[in-house]
Symmetry: C2
Subunit: 120 residues, 2 copies
DNA sequence: TAAACAGTCAATGAATTCATGAAATGATTG
DNA sequence: CAATCATTTCATGAATTCATTGACTGTTTA
């Protein structure tokens, strides 16, 4: 359990990211894109509590297994989650705490300005 | 310049976001989705330097005006940027510093794990 | 090794997003 | 008020994403 949620000491990388780096930009956008779906985000919020296997996630979310598996696959392809097989089960866990921070930050920011939409 | 980049004191909202709130989740996902496009993200990275008008942004990004305008419109609809008209020009600016933090964080996280892609 | 369980993969169609170019709107200037 | 500059809107098609279903693979257990 502890083995799956390591590294990325949060302030290893506070500075950086000044002058524009197109590669980092694309990478960041890809991460955001992956986070930018309510279903996927919901999975990640669940995983904040600790590693879970696919069926457990699907149960908790009351969604079909295949769909959940595919969302996890996408999250994995962006290295947002990692996997570990244990017997029949495959456990998914958040790759590192940066992701948690990112999510919490957006979540909190989201609950702030909750007014519907700006003018037109 | 200072008038356009106010509020959101960064740690007004450090805790929060514990138990699952579907509305906040959707909102957060929407924000992420908006950030999840390289072109839009690039615009935001530009705006980190301060407010700019549409043509200036399009020039800087060497992209067509209409496209930039539409991306800005989307960012505005998610309240990620705000506008101010000044004569013929419309200036766009980041709504608050939370967004900057979010971006910097992802950007930094992005440059870390820059390995292509995980297995299959 | 067959059955059962856990998860993934592949294919399909529906829905959404995106870029592009042309027309329309707003604001200033001659 | 005509011309021009700045920006937005609209319409189109191409590309991408998403959910769904059924088949397939890997692992344990009887």
């Amino acid at each position: 359990m502890t083995e799956l949620t390591p590294q990325c000491e949060t302030d290893d990388h506070a500075p950086a990211a000044r002058s524009f780096d197109p590669v980092a930009c694309d990478r960041a956008a890809a991460i955001f894109r992956a986070l930018g779906d309510p279903n996927r985000l919901h999975i990640l919020i669940l995983l904040r509590q600790g590693p879970m296997c696919v069926t457990a996630i699907a149960d908790e979310l009351d969604d079909n297994l295949s769909a959940v598996s595919q969302r996890l696959k996408l999250l994995r392809s962006e290295r947002i989650v990692v996997t570990r097989r244990e017997g029949k089960h495959v456990f998914y866990a958040l790759t590192d705490d940066c992701i948690v921070e990112l999510i919490d930050h957006a979540l909190a920011h989201g609950s702030e300005s909750l007014t519907p939409k700006p003018p037109r």
